[in-house]
Symmetry: C2
Subunit: 137 residues, 2 copies
């Protein structure tokens, strides 16, 4: 598990951590129940204040991605997203529409757009398979 902060990206450090944990969860790099790096060591490793990491973890907990047990540590949740199905669908549609509008604006035609999506889905699936075999084999 390796995080990297891009200090010149303009994106807040704590949000970068949030995104990277989410991505790690999606790719299987982090598995349900697994412990995340504890706040202080990770903060030191990334040259951030502990509260910056704490804020990221708090955000992740509010999203249902992780659970934090004071005194023990933070762990990846079993069941993500406590939201109702219609809400989840609505959120996802917003995200999709944003990508579609960007594709149009970048003049990427529909077929190429779909191809790109399939490509990324495949890439993710491959990552997941790789992590499966690492930890089960």
């Amino acid at each position: 598990m390796l995080f990297r902060i891009n200090f010149k990206s303009g994106k807040p450090a704590y949000l970068q951590v949030v995104d990277q944990v989410k991505a790690a969860a999606a790719s299987g790099e982090l598995r349900p129940g697994e412990a995340l790096p504890s706040i202080r060591p990770l903060a030191e490793e990334l040259h951030l204040n502990r509260n910056t990491i704490a804020k990221a973890y708090a955000e992740l907990e509010s999203l249902g991605v992780i659970e934090s047990l004071p005194g023990k540590g933070c762990f990846l949740s079993q069941n993500h997203s406590p939201l109702r199905k219609e809400i989840r669908r609505k959120l996802l549609i917003e995200e999709i529409d944003q990508a579609i509008v960007m594709a149009h604006h970048l003049q990427v035609p529909g077929p190429e757009f779909l191809e790109l999506i399939q490509e990324r889905l495949d890439a993710l699936e491959e990552k997941r398979r790789a992590h499966e075999s690492h930890k089960e084999g």
Copy 2:
């Protein structure tokens, strides 16, 4: 052309305008060369300061979506996105990955995700056809 600002969304007003103009351009509601509402009247209509609209338009110009001619007005560009193809592809991939990670996190399975995308693409296409016929017929 109708804009609506959601004041309790937390999203800055000028960004809401940016998104709505981009969406209007993608859906064909706004066509290349067409004039956008001028800054002051639109600001008054939306109960915003002129500079809030001006900032939105400036952002859109920097993105290549519109062109503003001082003294004349703002107009939708012919050719969006002055960026090189690899850059555009990279930007789009970031957006797509974000949607994919969200789909995973919301526990929306791959096929349903693709279905949703197709659905939104179709919806956009229908809008575009509707605007075609309105303005050509």
